[in-house]
Amino acid sequence: MLTRLVHRVQEVALGRRTSYEAGVLTVSSDAAAALFDDPALGGVTLTWASPGQSMRIVKVLDAVEPRTKGPGGGGIFPGLLGPPAPQGHGETHVLRGAAVVAAGFLPRAQEAVVDMSGPAAELSPLGATSNLVVEFTPADDAPWEAVEVALRKGVLALAVHLADAAAGADADEVEELPDPSTQPGDLPRVGAVINLQTQGAFKDVFVYGRSFSGGLPTLLDPGEIDDGAIVSGQYGHPALKNPTFVHQNNPVVNELRRRSGQDLQFAGLVISPEPVNMADKQLISTFAARVCAAAGFDAAVVTKEGGGNADADMALKMDALEDMGVAAVGLFGELAGADGTGPSLVVPPERATAMVSTGNYDSRLVLPAVEQALGGEDMRLLGVPATDELDLPAAVVYCSLSPLGWGRYTATANAS
């Protein structure tokens, strides 16, 4: 069993020394910058962006919730910071209300936007957190792959550095997370199947520090993802991405935990890659369904990461699950065009047709001008300064169509 010791962040600041006291999180820029000391990086700049401010973060990359196992806890983010040993038990300190956010140019990354106020703020999980934004300069001649690795490790180390400051404080809340039930009972046994996008450098997801590309579906202890077993290096599809922050707080897993013993039994968590070719998609889908059946799932919630290509993984997997007697429900962002009349899905399931909509990718939004922007000078996509009013599709707003089910955004034919 894993216990989350939650420390609420009420106020943030930069200061001489990193500390957490009575809800105030202060960060030393020097101590933080030292964590990015890497031959691939020229330097970093740290700035807080908090809810309600007239601020925008552009070119948003990964976001991480500050967490630590505390002194002697065995290491969080196993395989990247800690040793690659299974985690997910004992105690984990969580700084709730804060995030460490990398922002800037990387190849293959698609420009993502977070607004700290205005209509887009409620569409992103980062609209409600105080974000320590890390802007970076690559070292001269450093290969981009090395820049990405240095940045990813630095962001994780900074997240741990912040949480370590709270490890001695009393927790505001103590959350005891039940393990999935292995015993049959009267309640339906419902699990989660989480697809991870695995499409090579800059579009890859790491499990225990290893790229999950080429992997096979497997069961994880849900506590393992609380402890950072899944880390994102996937910078495409801003609206349809699953950053590390949302994996750490997996909304489907949290909902299954919340209801376990009430109207269902939480049966477990299966992770699966999203390979790029059709034969692999078919093989992986059958494999995932077999793992779920073997683990005794009566039903599964299936989630994806990415656009139309990932719809094929969803459809094949959902149909394979139902063929093995496991009821399946999938979460989909819709690609219905700006006027909402195009086909919602690229590849729909044939038999497992129960789907939840996380909104239409192409819905237009107008984001008002802001006083300050971090992450870059411009929105290259629109060719305008980053602080300007932006007229763009929901597709560009970070996690607005969260495939892990974070948000309330949805699309319907019944609204006017």
Binding site: V190, N254, L264, F332, G337, L345, A354, S402, A413
Partner: protein, 338 residues
């Protein structure tokens, strides 16, 4: 009193038939032609303040101009048709309604469900009309009732004769998606196999054409969605979400490297630009022509970009290609895809 503007074509405006099909949009006061009966059906609460008509040949590509005229009359609702199964008129009604809706006006079109314009109405609703103008009476009754319902602020459903695609809009749900997904799991486990937030999309099923009897006698066209154009892209073909297709001559036996490039934005075009035959296989096709394996090649190729292309545009390209080929000697086409 609500203000309604009615859109019709030159024929129903009483201007003329095919001889007047090239005329541009014109604004007239009050109801005209079928609008008179429609005005009666709308009763005293609503008034058809103006009618805009346009020639059938002109109208499908003049929707924006037509909507500008309509906006001048400050309508609460734009009504277009009924267009029955008339293709050009249906396309015009649909595009006028779509453009009006895009401009923020309430709009409604009427046509038969086999009308090729049906899918072009964008966010505007369409209600069914009869197949031919002989069914004008009942078609107007349905249109009038639907117009009144829209003006009352209500949504149209299948019960109102609504046909075609229904626009899906993004809104905020009461609960997070993860919670709704778990709810849906329990609903499905309880035996409801139809529950879903996303209805299955209806994709066209295409019946393949019969095989060509004798390919050695057939004239064959080369067609591609690979975005291969002359190097300076003279027709400004888009890299994604194409709205057009283009034709370029096939001269000689090969396509010179460096003279062509693919503007397609959905794949790395390095190899295509290196050897354009990877997209348009003129070299091999010429060999087959010389061997007598095919009759002869059409002297030009058709090209568009298949990358995020809307289904409506893709369907239109297909219709235009088929129409074009039927008028030529071509009896077979090779479509190279990327």
């Amino acid at each position: 009193m609500a203000r309604v503007v009615h859109y019709i074509n030159q024929f129903f405006a009483g201007v003329g038939g095919e001889d007047s099909a090239g005329q541009g949009p014109t604004l007239m006061d009050g109801p005209v032609g079928p609008g008179k009966k429609l005005a009666e059906l709308l009763g005293d609460e609503h008034e058809i303040v103006s009618t805009v008509w346009c020639g059938d040949d002109k109208a499908p590509d003049a929707a924006d101009e037509i909507v500008e005229l309509i906006q001048g009359a400050e309508p609460d609702l734009v009504v277009a048709g009924p267009a029955f199964t008339s293709g050009r008129y249906g396309l015009a009604c649909a595009r006028v309604a779509a453009a009006a809706a895009e401009a923020g006006l309430a709009a409604l079109a009427s046509m038969h469900e086999d009308n090729p314009g049906l899918d072009e109405a964008g966010a505007a609703p369409v209600v069914a009309s009869g197949e031919v103008a002989r069914r004008m009476g009942p078609s107007l009754e349905r249109l009038g009732a639907a117009a009144a319902k829209l003006l009352a602020g209500e949504e149209l459903t299948a019960d109102d004769g609504r046909i075609g695609k229904v626009a899906r809009r993004s809104v905020m749900a009461d609960a997070p998606a993860a919670q709704r997904a778990v709810d849906l799991v329990l609903t499905r486990l309880a035996g409801d196999r139809d529950a879903t937030e996303i209805p299955l999309p209806r994709f066209d099923s295409v019946t393949p054409a019969a095989p060509v009897d004798d390919v050695s006698q057939a004239t064959v066209a080369l067609v591609t969605e690979g975005g291969l154009v002359p190097d300076d892209n003279p027709g400004n073909l888009e890299s994604a979400r194409a709205t057009r297709w283009l034709r370029y001559p096939l001269e000689g036996d090969t396509l010179a490297s460096g003279s062509y490039r693919s503007v397609h934005g959905g794949f790395s075009s390095v190899h295509a630009n290196d050897d354009p035959h990877r997209i348009v296989p003129l070299d091999v096709a010429r060999e087959l022509e010389a061997e007598g394996a095919i009759g002869q090649l059409v002297g030009e190729y058709f090209v568009t970009t298949g990358n995020g292309t809307s289904v409506a545009n893709a369907r239109r390209f297909g219709i235009e290609w088929a129409t074009d080929m039927r008028k030529s000697e071509a009896r077979a086409a090779i479509l190279t895809a990327t």
